[in-house]
Amino acid sequence: MNAARRPAQILSLTVVYTLLVFFAVITLIPFVWMAASSLKQTADFFTSLFLPGGDGLFGVAWDRLTFVHYHDLFTKMGVGRNLLNSFFLASVTAVLATLSAAMGGYALAKFRFRGREGLTNLVLAALIIPAPLLLAPGYKVLFQLGLLDSFGGLILPALAPAFGVFLFRQTMLNSVPDELLESARLDGASEIRLFTTVVLPLARPMIGAFMLITFLGTWNNFISPQIILQSQELFPLSVAIAQMKTEYSQDYGMMMAGTLISVAPVLTIFLLLQKEFISGLTAGAVKG
């Protein structure tokens, strides 16, 4: 598209870039602020906005910066344990929930059986149940099952993602041809083998996207672990940082260091897998 054919753009390209850079800077400032604050001594919070000023390179007093907050977090606050818990919960939930959703979606999309219509409608209906409604009764169920204060109490309820089943049903309808399944069956492939070697590879983009979204959601989830877990050693980062905020609210540097540790892993994963993330998010909206 050459510029001559589209003369009537509202804004010149320069203005567009200026606006975009302006908003990008505003978006990035809180991240920079968090990183800078995590390296500052408590005293310097009252004299400098980002990094403390001095005679060093770029007018920054580099020698006043400190890693003490990170050191304290791991040696005194046991953040290493919280980090491990978050990774464990998020990855186990992501893998199992994706598997459960892919299997369910496959069954609803590619088999004809009595009750299929009813089940599909049930999945659709479940989409509108708001999570907070199930908070109190879900707690009661976990209590009766003896699952309170355990990872099981967090992981098992996450294995029934109606939204995921719905997404996978759509994916399987579009990208898994019946002929392929039929010919594999004629070749004598078992149903489970068929699923793992034919169906799952065809649904790969959705598997990646849904695993990422579930990982992120579990990593950032606060309310469920806050309600279900009692023992400090089981806390994921979200609960640990929230607790730190109430108990050490004046220790700015440590709070920011803890937050950076909590945020950096998901940001890194996102930067590496941006395409999967965004296609997963928009899959339901634009195509569906």
Partner: protein, 293 residues
């Protein structure tokens, strides 16, 4: 249709087992429990008294509940009327032809939505600090008349929440708008240009109708998300805030259920929330159906 010729009837049920089992235990049973609990007063999960419709009767005149509804509604209005127009604006900027670095800008704008609400709250609790906070220092630097002691978290709780949410979700919604804009036919736009349509007319008559379904969907998502606001004010204000200015519906549900330990009354609040959200979904369906005619 010979699709099923070689498979047994139990195969689909085998694949559905993990979902159905967990769904039954952790969604259907709690949903039933929610009905029963809403008619009970409880203290913890064990001690219960049947109260019938009293929970809902009490809710109707509970000033705290209505404060929560009011706060949550205002916050949601901020999301729909401030955040979404900005999201659309950014998407239009990014959709500009011949733009370089589109992926980088999109990644930057999207990044805040990856940060969990808890962590956003902790970051912004420092940004909103009175004298040392980033926002007050910057605003004071730009406009000397602006008070560097401006009490965001003491008095201007709702604007503070809306600002934090603006940072977090504008880029998230932008992604939906951008995806929709990229599906708008360039040929149609060009045809409109050739026919003498100006930028505004192209936006109004070509782009807007094409992205309306996604727009309606994004509004619905923003409403559903906003009405479930909890962590942001809860952590930012270390509770409901001064004079309950940061009390939201889900925060009230949480406080009743897990601080006061009345799971019954908490479930009643949950049903009110479910009813509200369901009415948004119905309204959305109604409007998107009407469009087709």
């Amino acid at each position: 249709m010979s699709r099923q010729s070689s498979t047994s009837a139990w195969v689909p049920w085998l694949f559905l087992t993990p979902f159905l089992l967990t769904f039954a235990v952790f969604s259907i049973v709690p949903l039933g429990q929610a009905v029963i609990l809403a008619a009970q007063q409880t203290f913890g999960p064990n001690t219960t008294v049947f109260v019938g419709f009293d929970n809902f009767r009490f809710l109707a005149t509970d000033p705290l509940f209505w404060t929560a509804v009011r706060n949550t509604t205002l916050y949601a209005a901020g999301a729909v009327f401030l955040q979404l127009p900005l999201s659309l604006g950014l998407a239009l900027l990014l959709n500009r032809p011949n733009l370089r670095g589109r992926m980088i800008f999109r990644a930057i704008f999207f990044a805040p939505s990856l940060v969990g609400l808890v962590f956003v709250a902790v970051i912004f609790s420092l940004i909103f600090e009175k004298r040392t906070g980033l926002l007050n220092v910057l605003l004071h630097g730009l406009i000397p008349a602006f008070d560097v002691e401006f009490p965001w978290l003491q008095e201007y709780v709702l604007p503070a929440l809306i600002i934090a949410a603006l940072w977090m979700f504008t880029g998230f919604n932008m992604v939906y708008f951008l995806a929709a804009l990229q599906n708008v036919s360039r040929d149609l736009e060009d045809a409109a240009t050739v026919d003498g349509a100006g930028p505004w007319q192209r936006f109004r008559h070509v782009i807007l109708p094409a992205i309306r379904p996604v727009g309606a969907f994004v509004v619905l998502l923003a409403l559903i998300g906003s009405f479930q606001l909890f962590e942001l004010p809860w952590i930012l204000l270390a509770g409901p805030g001064p004079e309950n200015r940061g009390l939201t519906i889900v925060m009230y549900l949480y406080q009743i259920g897990f601080v006061t330990n009345d799971l019954g009354y908490s479930s009643a609040v949950g049903w009110m929330l479910a009813f509200l959200l369901a009415s948004f979904a119905v309204a959305h369906r109604f409007f998107s159906r009407k469009e087709q005619y």
